[in-house]
Structures are given as structure tokens and as C-alpha cells.
């Protein structure tokens, strides 16, 4: 076989493998998607063709599941977490980026390290404290613990963006008479806005999907969407059609958000170790 023929064969194999990989990656998602539209009879059979129904989406919002409440909880918790985390992280990120602080490496390493501590280690003291203070099963409690997870990502991502903004504009403004605070407000914030938005979306996704804390710290009132999934158990087992519908409701916003920030994905998750 000539070099050229070999190349063609490789090319075809190449494309086939890519398509196969994409297929494998998408099948579970696609299957859940289909299941959400199946009636509660169809879902228990291995069917590709069926008559779709929107019933499941209506059912999950009804009693006794009341997914609507969980949806509100998830949104509130994620949103407030982000609204608190981003401004705090931005100030810190600016300082780390522009100044040299004593002990800054230590601080940054600790911030990095908290990300790697398993959530189970942190949750136990929180459970005890919340129980004593009355924060169990509250949205406020969830917000507090979500901050723990989200802050390190926020600080690192935003620092990365601020690092990428050239200092000349700030220096020019200060020579012209601005104070440092004014510079941050009038110059850095507008320029970093896309980065802040990206970091915000990233943290929103993390808070939205957060599972362990919500599992342990909520019971009835503050239950978020992911925990809501556990509700869909019937007498004979899981109600897969309802579960799938709920799954889609959880996933759909995240698809959109993930696509929005896909350029900064790798940077965010690896906290700057890979660009």
C-alpha cells in the first residue's frame, strides 16, 4: 500500500473513531432526554420509538414532588453565593495581581488547597454548628457553605483575568490624579467585566450542581434540585420518567451556561496550571 493509500485509510478510521467517541459521550444524555418524554409505561421498556408526552414535566412540579420549590431554592442559593463571592474575590484578586503582599504565596497556596479538601471533612463541623445555631435546612446555611467551595475558584479565575489586563491604563490614570480606589472602580472593573461574568457563571454552575452539603444540611424547606432527585422513588423502584424530566430541568440551564463560558473552561477548572 502506498503512503497515500495508507493515509486515506487512516483518515477514514480517524473520522470513524471520532464519531464513535462523540456517540458514546452523548448517548447517556440523549437517553435521559428521551426518557423525560416517555410515559410512565414506556420508560420501563427499551424503546426507541414512542409517543412523546409532556406530562412528566407537569407532574414534577405538582405535589408531592414540588420541583418548583426546589428550583427556586437552587436559583436563590446559587445566585446569592455568586453575588457575594464575586465582589469579594475581585478585590482580593486585584490585590494579589497588582501588589506584593507579605505572605501572599502562603495565602494563595492555602486558597488553592481548600479546593482540594474533600467536602466530607468540612461538612461535619458545619452540621454540628448549624444544628446548634438553627441554620439547618435554611437557604442561608447553604449559601455559607457554598461560599467555601466557590471562593477559591473565583479568586483564581479572576486573578487570571486581572493579570491579563495591562497595567499601563491604571498607571496613566493615577498619574492623571486618580486614587487607587477610583482606578479600580472606573478602569479595572469595566475592563474585567467579561472575566467577572465568566467567573460568576462558572461559580454558579458549581453551586447549582452542589450535592453533598445540600444532602446533609437540608431536609424539607431548603432542598435544592439535585437532592430533589432523591424524591422520585415509587413503590417498585425509581420513577424514571419523572427522574429524567427533573434531570433535564437541572441540566438544561447548565448546558447553556457551559456553552457560554467554554473558552475559559480549562483555565477555570485547573486554576491556572494549564492555560
Amino acid at each position: 500500500m502506498t503512503g497515500k493509500q495508507k493515509k486515506r485509510l487512516w483518515g477514514a478510521l480517524h473520522t470513524a473513531l471520532i464519531l464513535f467517541a462523540i456517540f458514546v459521550m452523548l448517548v447517556p444524555i440523549a437517553w435521559i432526554f428521551l426518557a423525560a418524554f416517555k410515559s410512565h409505561v414506556d420508560v420501563y421498556q427499551l424503546k426507541l420509538f414512542f409517543t412523546p408526552t409532556l406530562e412528566n414535566f407537569a407532574t414534577v412540579f405538582d405535589d408531592p414532588y414540588r420541583l418548583g420549590e426546589k428550583l427556586v431554592n437552587s436559583t436563590v442559593v446559587a445566585l446569592v453565593t455568586v453575588l457575594i463571592a464575586i465582589p469579594i474575590a475581585t478585590l482580593a484578586a486585584y490585590s494579589f495581581s497588582r501588589f506584593h503582599l507579605r505572605g501572599e504565596t502562603v495565602m494563595l497556596v492555602i486558597i488553592l488547597a481548600t479546593q482540594f479538601v474533600p467536602a466530607v471533612v468540612i461538612i461535619l463541623p458545619f452540621f454540628v454548628m448549624f444544628r446548634d445555631v438553627g441554620l439547618l435546612d435554611t437557604r442561608l446555611g447553604l449559601i455559607l457553605v457554598n461560599l467555601a467551595i466557590v471562593m477559591p475558584f473565583a479568586i483564581w479565575m479572576i486573578k487570571g483575568f486581572v493579570d491579563g489586563i495591562p497595567m499601563e491604563t491604571e498607571e496613566a490614570a493615577m498619574v492623571d490624579g486618580s486614587s487607587r480606589v477610583q482606578v479600580i472602580r472606573n478602569i479595572v472593573l469595566p475592563m474585567a467585566a467579561p472575566g467577572l461574568l465568566t467567573a460568576g457563571i462558572f461559580c454558579f454552575i458549581i453551586a447549582w450542581n452542589e450535592f453533598l452539603f445540600a444532602l446533609i444540611l437540608t431536609n424539607k424547606d431548603a432542598v435544592t434540585l439535585p437532592i430533589g432527585l432523591a424524591l422520585f422513588k415509587g413503590e417498585e423502584g425509581d420513577l424514571w420518567n419523572l427522574l429524567s424530566a427533573a434531570g433535564i430541568i437541572i441540566m438544561a440551564p447548565m448546558f447553556v451556561l457551559a456553552l457560554l463560558i467554554r473558552k475559559y473552561f480549562v483555565q477555570g477548572m485547573t486554576m491556572g496550571a494549564v492555560r
Binding site: P28, Y94, M151, F211, L212, W240, M251
Partner: protein, 290 residues
């Protein structure tokens, strides 16, 4: 206000938050690990018994060692499989073209599925009666046709590993695609002209230069694998029996279901030890650019 004061003020809120939400709980968990710590016995959270919790875990509790073993095996398998498959997929996608940008966009989608959702999804797919994957494997490997995956310890473990690998391949692939792109094209073409076949170019030139990125990938994935909880909880809840009970799950079970906070805290802190090494290794890569 002078910069010198301002700069510390700017970091203060973040430091406070991190301290309150992460450092304090870590310290408190450490303290709790030395107490009797039963949730249903008031006062036991201040009853100290020294290293007893740790000793119990180490010397007298087979369930602890089971979860250590499960976690270790799980971590090694998932890191190896995910890295190799992600590298393969990255190599397939690296050359570029329309297929690649389309594939890269599609690869983001599985990330929108949280680990909990992945657990649920795979539980669905491996259901013995109507699970898609169950049917698929049953047709391809006839001996597996009448098997209930999630009821068999080994097979359930396999499913848990599969779910994790499936979930993390997209992310690792994206990282590795970036890594491959950063290998200078010159070195690859030079090897091609020098006479190396495709495989040799990869082994002698691409792979060594991919070293740092691979290291980051392996460390990061190891950390994520060690922490695994959500997926296991939703897929098998540690079962059948304790066949898939990772350390995180074991800690959760003992702490929340059995109320043994003190003991759980000690196991949790034992878990922190490998994390320290991994974090140190990772930090070296994060800070080498700075």
C-alpha cells in the same frame, strides 16, 4: 489611603470568608476527631479520648480498610483509564478542522451533568430490565446477558468506574488538546523528516514534551477521584454491601447515618494526608508560571 494599607484591606474579606468557611471547619474537624463525638449524645462533643478514634480505624475496623482499598483501586483505575482515553481522544481531535471544533463544543455538554446526575443516569442505563447499556453489553458479551450489574460487587464497581471515566473524559480531553497544541510543530516535523514513523514521533517527541500537562492532569484527576461522593451515592449508595464504598461515602455514612461524628472526623483527617502531598505537587505546577 496608601497602597500599603489598602492592599491588605482588599484581601481581607476574602481571607475572612476562606478562613470561616474552610479553615475553621478543618480545624474543628481535627478537634472533633479526638472526641467521642456522638450526634445523639449531648456533651460527647467535648469528651476527649485522645487517639482512640484513629486507633480504632487503623487497627480494628475492617470497614475502614475496605473503603481505603475501594478508594485506592477506584482512583488508580479511573485516573489511568480517563487519562489514556482522553489522550487518545485528544490525539484524534488535535489535527483540527470542522469536526474538531464541533466535537470540542459537544465535549462541554457532559460537564453540565453533575456527578450526581451521572450517577442517576448510569443507574438507569444499567437497570437489568430496561437499561440501555445493560442490553448493549448483554448482546455483545452473551455471558453478561442475564446479569444484574448493580447487584454484583465486581460489576457494580466496574459501573462506578465507568461512570466516573465517562464523566471526566471531556474535561481531560480539552486540557490535553490544549497541551498537544502547545507542542511546537517544528519538533514534530523535524522528527518526521528525520525518519520517524507516526508512533515513534508520538513516543519520542510528543509525549515527553507533553510531560508537564500530563502531570497536571494526573494529579488533578487523582484529587477529584479521591474526593468522589455524589456519583457513588446516587449510583450504588456504596453497595452492594460496601463493595463501592469510597472513603467519602464511608465518612458520610458513619457521620450522618450512624451519628459518629468523632470517628468520622478522624477518618476524614486521615483522608487529608494524601491530599497534602497531591496539593503540594499541584501547587508546584500552578506557581511555576508565576
Amino acid at each position: 489611603m496608601r497602597d500599603n494599607t489598602l492592599k491588605y484591606l482588599l484581601v481581607l474579606p476574602a481571607v475572612v470568608v476562606v478562613f470561616a468557611t474552610a479553615i475553621w471547619p478543618l480545624a474543628e474537624a481535627f478537634r472533633l476527631s479526638f472526641t467521642v463525638g456522638r450526634l445523639n449524645r449531648p456533651g460527647s462533643l467535648d469528651q476527649y479520648l485522645g487517639w482512640e478514634n484513629y486507633a480504632w480505624a487503623f487497627f480494628e475496623e475492617p470497614a475502614f480498610w475496605n473503603s481505603v482499598w475501594v478508594t485506592a483501586l477506584y482512583t488508580v483505575l479511573t485516573v489511568a483509564l480517563t487519562t489514556i482515553l482522553a489522550l487518545g481522544l485528544a490525539l484524534l481531535l488535535a489535527p483540527g478542522g470542522r469536526l474538531r471544533s464541533g466535537a470540542q463544543t459537544l465535549l462541554i455538554l457532559p460537564f453540565a451533568m453533575s456527578p450526581a446526575l451521572i450517577g442517576v443516569s448510569f443507574r438507569f442505563m444499567f437497570n437489568p430490565e430496561f437499561g440501555l447499556f445493560d442490553a448493549f453489553f448483554g448482546t455483545v458479551f452473551p455471558p453478561l446477558a442475564n446479569v444484574s450489574w448493580l447487584a454484583d460487587p465486581t460489576l457494580a464497581f466496574a459501573v462506578v468506574v465507568m461512570a466516573d471515566v465517562w464523566g471526566w473524559i471531556p474535561f481531560l480531553t480539552l486540557v490535553l488538546i490544549g497541551g498537544l497544541a502547545s507542542v511546537p510543530r517544528d519538533t514534530i516535523e523535524a522528527a518526521q523528516v528525520d525518519g520517524a514513523s507516526g508512533w515513534r514521533v508520538f513516543r519520542d517527541v510528543t509525549l515527553p514534551q507533553l510531560g508537564p500537562v500530563l502531570a497536571v492532569v494526573v494529579i488533578l484527576k487523582s484529587i477529584f477521584s479521591l474526593k468522589t461522593f455524589d456519583q457513588v451515592y446516587m449510583l450504588t449508595n456504596g453497595g452492594p454491601g460496601t463493595a463501592t464504598q469510597t472513603l467519602s461515602h464511608y465518612i458520610y455514612f458513619n457521620g450522618m447515618k450512624y451519628g459518629q461524628i468523632g470517628y468520622s472526623a478522624s477518618v476524614a483527617w486521615l483522608m487529608v494526608i494524601p491530599m497534602i502531598f497531591l496539593t503540594y505537587a499541584y501547587a508546584k505546577f500552578v506557581f511555576r508560571k508565576g
